[in-house]
Amino acid sequence: MKLNIEGLLVYFPYDYIYPEQYSYMLELKRTLDAKGHGVLEMPSGTGKTISLLSLIIAYQRAFPLEVTKLIYCSRTVPEIEKVIEELRKLMEFYSKETGESNNFLALALSSRKNLCIHPEVSSLRFGKEVDGKCHSLTASYIRAQRHSNPNLPVCRFYEEFDAVGRQVPLPPGVYNLDDLKDFGRRKGWCPYYLARYSILHANIVVYSYHYLLDPKIADLVSKELAKKSVVVFDEAHNIDNVCIDSMSVNITRRTLDRCQNNVDTLQNTIHKIKETDAAKLREEYRRLVEGLKEANVARETDIYLANPVLPDEILQEAVPGTIRTAEHFVGFLRRFLEYLKSRLRVQHVVQESAPQFLKDIFDKVCIDRKPLRFCAERLQSLLRTLEIADIADFSAVTLISNFATLVSTYSQGFTIIIEPFEDRTPTIANPVLHFSCMDPSIAIKPVFQRFQSVIITSGTLSPLDIYPRILDFRPVTMASFTMTLARTCLCPLIVGRGNDQVALSSKFETREDFAVIRNYGNLLLEMSAIVPDGIVAFFTSYVYMENIVASWYEQGILENIQRNKLIFIETQDAAETSMALEKYQEACENGRGAILLSVARGKVSEGIDFVHHFGRAVIMFGVPYVYTQSRILKARLEYLRDQFQIRENDFLTFDAMRHAAQCVGRAIRGKTDYGLMIFADKRYARADKRGKLPRWIQEHINDGSLNLTVDEAVQLAKHFLRQMAQPFRQEDQLGLSLLTLEQLQSEEMLQKITQIAHQT
């Protein structure tokens, strides 16, 4: 259908539209009009992706000068593929309606591992291996060497691409990863480099978060993307953690040992080169004196996305004299390494700030702040000069030099924690140096600064106002949308007591309490008898799950549950988990019924959808607080309090509730789906917890579903499941939660739609 969104003609490739989609597009349009950033929360399964794509593409067509590119960031490869499929549908609709083939280019980009078509390289199992192998075939000096020695192996796909691929742009169309590979095979071009090259002129790019947020990758891939782009972060409820992870460094003894090897290799290579080709080193020296000026020019003229690792000040200076020659630099690295080794020989926990660390390093080994800052850049230059093919082997020394640059650049927002052992195994010495980023805004700042509009969206972003605060930006729109429903297909229940009136809670004091564990078991048992097909149960941590399951086993509860359903358990091993998941789905499919025991914040809670019969109920045992004794977390909380005036408790609750919402949200993946959401902890009944759930869940929690006993919850669940099993047709939704164009345009409906968006 064709919609009119405040004067903008939007093509929407379906015959029906949900009212909230219309409302969503309305808000999105206003954000784009204002050229600002937006935070939008809309439940999953209500067609967020297609609303986003429809509107932004319509906007791009209407105002080609205002918005030139859409950068759509998603988390996983399957999600990327899903976006591309929606896009394909939309593009087909466009060409059908307008009758002309449009010249839009949309493509997905992923790592070499997913795009490589070289027969040998693509057969490697790990992404790192593929990257290393690819690099050893395509690096510029390898190819230069090949001129003198034609026997060296090369990647013919890259050669072919390099020879002709750049002159001929990718023809317009929608390309997913497989399409790119097919195209590459047909032409004999490397799909990865083709995609990387093509994103510069593509209208729509779909790729992973890391291509924008991780400074190391962003520098390679996304540096030259146009300023007038719209950036969308989908499923962005964890974006702060992604930012933090991309800026944090963990150094163990193993890293240092490998780093030592790297430095030795460097030393040897330098010796060799000196004997054969001293001119090369001199040339490098000259280049370093000139400084990093070129990069600086580019950044000033607004061509490049800023790199948070390499702040502006560095670019204006030349590399300091102490590390300018190759030998000096290697010596410098050695000293730095020895210093780190000595720091790791600790008996007790040390926590210090970056300036403290710098002062200490100056006192002990006389390393100044300035050379440290250039460490990362200097190492890159050296690796280039030495023509080392397999970059993958040098990850340890790269990590250390990144650390050096970061620690000397940022005096705020980071902390250094050295722990002699892990908390859980205090007898085993395993020293780790955490260089931990506490401020997610550092990594995302260049994105907000560079791009015209950044949209952060997800099914669970409540409370909305906290995201702008922790990411430090000012949005023009913040809105939360509810799900209009023809029937109440979600049933959140808060079970606060067992049948014997014992309060259910996972809080620390009652964690070992047998009465609580028994009642939790009882809840699962009763639910397993009345809920059909699949149940997913989430625990707060692996340790807690192990304890509870062991205890259930002793009490014979597991045996009783197994009469009703099979039990599968998520473990930390990815292969084991995916096996369990597969069998779980099989058991749901053939009617035996199954329970999946998993952990909030685990793989299952984030990426896996349990549509329809795969998840008829989700039980959340306890409130999934993050492990509060962790020093990194404590440091971060302190930082949040000092810098952003967010109280520790607020942040912890927010974090716990967003994970709880993610977990229970797994069950509802659309309007025809239905599922029970059971919160088994009495603390959920409190207003401060409940109030932080997304609005579309909160709406359905009423006084009658608070603080229930197990029996009461069972009665309610039975009733709900019978209601939901009654036949439900599309006609029942029409006019209420599903609209035709005429219905949408009615005065009454437009009035209703304005109430869907909840502004904050």
């Binding site: 008898a529 749901c588 053939n590 009617g591 019969h613 009665q715 039975k718 009733h719 019978r722």
Partner: protein, 379 residues
């Protein structure tokens, strides 16, 4: 389903709260609403069942009742099993009344079923059910049935789990290829495998809300399903035995055994008269039956006639308000005064009926008495 009034105390939803639907009128009487409810429920079945489709007349229905642990659940009173069996008795009666030449579980005798059902009340429900095993067993019997009859399985499933020895999806394929129609009535919630099973085999899948809904769903299965166009049509040999009653005065008459009672110890053993198979003269006391000696289907003419209405269902009567009726306000069937606010008019003879007669005509008579009356009876 209106959920709003239940919002306040949802946990009471498990109990029956029929009083909530009742509303007092100005004089404080409940009569009006009760009548309204009854009226609505009466009408519903009549309206639903009338579409002009060809229905299968000869049915072979296999009823499977789940007797697993979950049948002990007391959400139907007194428990699921007892309640189910009680409803099944009514179902069997109704079934044979409407489909005299059909079979349930390959037994023709309704009395036997009811006796068996009564006995089953005492069954202790244990263990897990197996959908696969029950379907397989039913299939073994049904697959030998002739192609012109319908093959149906009705499963009353209380459990939410099934322990199968093999892949059930293979069996579903087999069922589909053999044109067995499987319907399921779930007593607790929607189970995926049943959804697939019924969708693939063209059956119905329903989940009960409460006891009355359960009954309604069961009765839906009384009506024969539409005959699939692919089922073969053939002429069937049938015997119409005469009922011979030996006069008590006749001294030569000797009491004899009925063939149908030979294998069962219960029931009347010896009798004087009976139905005699026209082919082999075996004696039966009850019809319809399949002759044990020569395999001929024995029915009486009224039986056949009763099944006939499935082929030519009576058109639904048109409902109109009482005020529009001109002339005498009398029901043409029962001759009572029309008091309800709606009346029903036959589309062909334009006679007017009250709601009770409308239901009676459609459910039991299957022909409009006024139409027949107006037909010129040949002298």
């Amino acid at each position: 389903m209106d959920e709003e009034p239940e919002r306040a105390k949802r946990w009471e939803g498990g109990y029956e709260r029929t009083w909530e639907v009742l509303k007092e009128d100005e004089s404080g009487s409940l009569k009006a609403t009760v009548e309204e409810i009854l009226f609505q429920s009466k009408r519903k079945r009549v309206i639903e069942s009338h579409e002009q489709v060809r229905l299968g007349m000869m049915r072979h229905l296999y009823v499977v009742i789940d007797c697993s642990r979950s049948m002990e659940d007391q959400d139907l009173k007194p428990n699921r099993l007892t309640s189910t069996l009680k409803l099944m008795e009514a179902f069997v009666d109704e079934y044979f009344d409407q489909n005299p030449i059909s079979q349930v579980c390959l037994h023709r005798n309704p009395k036997k079923h009811i006796a068996a059902l009564k006995k089953a009340v005492d069954t202790v429900c244990v263990g897990e059910p197996s959908l696969y095993n029950s379907l397989n067993q039913a299939l073994q019997s049904l697959k030998h049935m002739p192609g012109h009859t319908s093959r149906e399985i009705l499963i009353i499933l209380s459990s939410l789990t099934t322990c199968d020895p093999a892949n059930i999806y293979e069996l579903i394929k087999t069922l589909k290829s053999l044109k067995v129609r499987v319907s399921v009535i779930g007593l607790s919630a929607e189970v995926r495998v049943c959804t697939v099973l019924t969708r693939e085999t063209g059956g119905l899948y329903h989940v009960i809300l409460d006891e009355s809904h359960f009954k309604e769903l069961l009765m839906m299965h009384v009506k024969p399903p539409p005959a699939s166009s692919s089922s073969e049509c053939s002429l069937i040999r049938m015997g119409f035995p005469q009922h011979t009653v030996a006069a008590l005065t006749d001294q030569d008459a000797k009491p004899s055994f009925s063939m149908s009672h030979l294998d069962s110890s219960s029931g009347p053993g010896l009798s004087l008269g009976g139905y005699f198979c026209p082919q082999c003269h075996a004696k039966y006391t009850e019809l319809p039956v399949e002759c044990k000696v020569c395999g001929l289907t024995l029915v009486s003419a009224p039986h056949l006639a009763r099944s006939f209405h499935h082929l030519f269902p009576l058109q639904a009567f048109v409902e109109s308000p009482l005020e529009e009726l001109q002339g005498d306000r009398y029901c043409q069937a029962c001759q009572g005064e029309l008091k309800d606010k709606s009346i029903f008019t036959c589309t062909s003879c334009h006679s007017v009926f009250c709601v009770e007669c409308d239901v009676f005509i459609h459910d039991t008579l299957h022909c409009c008495p006024c139409c027949i009356h107006s037909q010129v009876t040949p002298l």
